[in-house]
């Protein structure tokens, strides 16, 4: 009787639980707390955290392939990694048989879902939705804010430097650096291409910091600006016609693809979504891109990323370094944007920009712009910076995609 119970216990998942798994439950709990109680990027952190819990349970048919009868594995798609132990070659020089030892076996539901990341489908499709949701009008009305978006990419390159000297390979360093761009889909796209082994840690760091924008950015903004600068009122933006917005989408796509062809998937989908929005005759497609497509993909992207957070790969010293480097990248990007705004004011003092909008150069849309607006209102409640801050904010999206294209062009060859 007792032996039966012991045998039964060994068939349950309880017998396979271990301490690292429990630690990962704790980490997932923190992410859920941030998402639900603090409302920090809940649309992404909830699926990521839930996926992380699934990844750290002794699941069946979720991450591994099920063996139906001895030696027969059934799954729509699966991947088996093996070591070749012995190879028998026939007289004609052809391989007759091989003895293999299975080292890794992927498959099941997760394998299906994660194909969207592995095949680099989901991030560009999310960009389609982002494009359909984004109004580039403020950027077109005040194009000099493109420089703020460019300056905010300085954090990426500085973090690449730091990562290289902390022992990461160049490809890994580039994947970590992109966290500074505060653009989740781009970070996933790049790390899947250059350093898939770090995908989970990079995605979690990127989305966590994006969710912590309201906590990370304001102290840096206050540190680098004085009272007078924070109260600068900017000139009203001119009205931008639909034709201008359509031409803009075409120009950005053509120019960026010509410059960095490796960023084509991201830039082209972003601008396709935006063109659909602005042309005014594809209302049904725009609605789908803005709602159904991006929502479904966000669920799959979030859980797929979460499921990569398995204890054995996530609880490693490298993850801690990535988390630290990520916050450095983010802080430097924020500071660079603010400082660039101050430099612009030195050059054109008659038409100044409020340096608080410089921090919106990181591409966490629209959270970073909202933070600039709220900070500005603290010092002058009648100062409305939101639309001005949207300029550098969307410029940051383009800038990060170009930087990612540059990294890919250097390292994927």
């Amino acid at each position: 009787m007792i032996q039966n119970l012991i045998d039964f216990y060994h068939t349950t998942g309880f017998s396979q639980l271990n301490l690292p798994m429990l630690v990962m439950w704790g980490i997932a709990g923190v992410l859920l707390y941030l998402a639900i109680a603090k409302r920090f990027e809940p649309l992404l952190l909830v699926p990521i955290a839930f996926g992380a819990i699934i990844a750290n349970l002794p699941t069946r048919g979720m991450i591994t392939v099920e063996e139906t009868t001895p030696g027969v594995y059934q799954s729509a798609t699966f991947e088996i990694h093996t070591d070749v132990l012995e190879t028998r070659v026939g007289e004609d020089g052809q391989v007759e048989s091989q003895t293999l030892r299975v080292t890794e076996m992927h498959g099941g539901l997760y394998d299906f879902l994660s194909q969207g990341i592995k095949l680099e489908l989901i991030p560009p499709l999310i960009f389609l939705g982002v494009g359909a949701l984004t109004d580039f009008g403020p950027l077109i009305a005040m194009p000099r804010t493109l420089l703020l978006g460019a300056a905010a990419q300085a954090g990426l390159f500085l973090t690449f430097f730091s990562s290289s000297f902390l022992g990461f390979t160049s490809k890994q360093a580039a994947s970590i650096a992109i966290i500074g761009g505060a653009d989740g889909p781009t970070a996933i796209f790049l790390s899947n291409k250059l350093a898939p082994e770090l995908l989970g840690a990079i995605a979690v760091a990127a989305y966590s910091y994006m969710s912590l924008v309201p906590l990370i950015q304001p102290p840096i903004m206050r540190l680098l600006t004085n009272h007078k600068e924070r109260k600068i009122k900017m000139k009203s933006l001119r009205e931008v016609s639909k034709l201008e917005k359509m031409i803009f989408a075409m120009i950005v796509m053509v120019l960026c693809v010509l410059l960095v062809p490796d960023a084509t998937a991201l830039i082209a989908m972003l601008m396709l979504g935006n063109f659909l929005r602005e042309c005014g005759v594809t209302e049904r497609l725009v609605k789908s891109a803005q709602n159904e497509i991006i929502n479904v993909l966000t669920i799959f992207l979030g859980t797929s990323v979460g499921i990569t957070m398995r204890a054995e790969s996530f609880l490693a010293p490298a993850t801690m370094k990535i988390i630290l480097l990520g916050v450095v990248a983010f802080a430097v990007s924020t500071a660079s944007g603010v400082l660039m705004a101050k430099v612009m004011n030195l050059i054109t003092p008659k038409n100044p920009v409020n340096p608080l909008i410089g921090s919106a150069g990181v591409s966490a849309v629209p959270m970073a712009a909202r933070v600039s607006h709220h900070e500005g209102q603290k010092y002058d409640p009648r100062n409305y910076l939101l639309m001005h801050a949207m300029g550098p904010n969307v410029a940051g999206v383009i800038g990060t995609a170009i930087a990612a294209g540059y990294f890919i062009s250097v390292f994927s060859g």
Binding site: I140, A141, L147, F161, F165, S170, L255, I398, I402, A403
Partner: protein, 132 residues
């Protein structure tokens, strides 16, 4: 400083290689966005001019419309006891309601005893639902 050519950065680069790589990257990002800035400025100049020309063309018509939309004169309010502010507000409302079509306000009267407002309310209410 010698820039590291693309696709030649090793896995463990030296300091000068990293600096060269970073500098190239910043130049690429700034170059791309600065080019976009220039293009957008040129585009802005063209579209602002176009807008200005449209405004000039529209002006005579707009003037005529304004003239037509003007209420009979401050004399009328004096007779009816309406303040100039009320007359201006009614004239503006009529102008908006008619979408700027030429018109002349000849009299302003209270709608006491009329059921027009109630009828309009009912019409709006019913038109907001699709009858199955």
């Amino acid at each position: 400083m010698t820039l590291v050519p693309l696709a030649q950065l090793p896995d463990q680069p030296t300091l000068s290689e990293v600096l060269g790589f970073q500098l190239t990257g910043l130049i690429v990002v700034f170059g791309a966005l600065a080019t976009l800035w220039l293009v957008l400025e040129l585009m802005g100049v063209f579209f602002r001019r176009r807008q200005a020309q449209k405004t000039i063309k529209k002006q005579p018509v707009a003037k005529a419309r304004t003239k037509a939309a003007e209420p009979p004169a401050p004399a009328a309010p004096a007779e009816d006891g309406l303040s100039p502010v009320t007359v201006a507000a009614v004239a503006a409302a009529v102008h908006v309601a008619l979408g700027g079509r030429p018109h002349r306000v000849v009299s302003i009267r209270a709608s006491n005893g009329s059921t027009s407002w109630a009828a309009e309310g009912r019409r709006e209410h019913f038109s907001s639902h699709r009858v199955r």
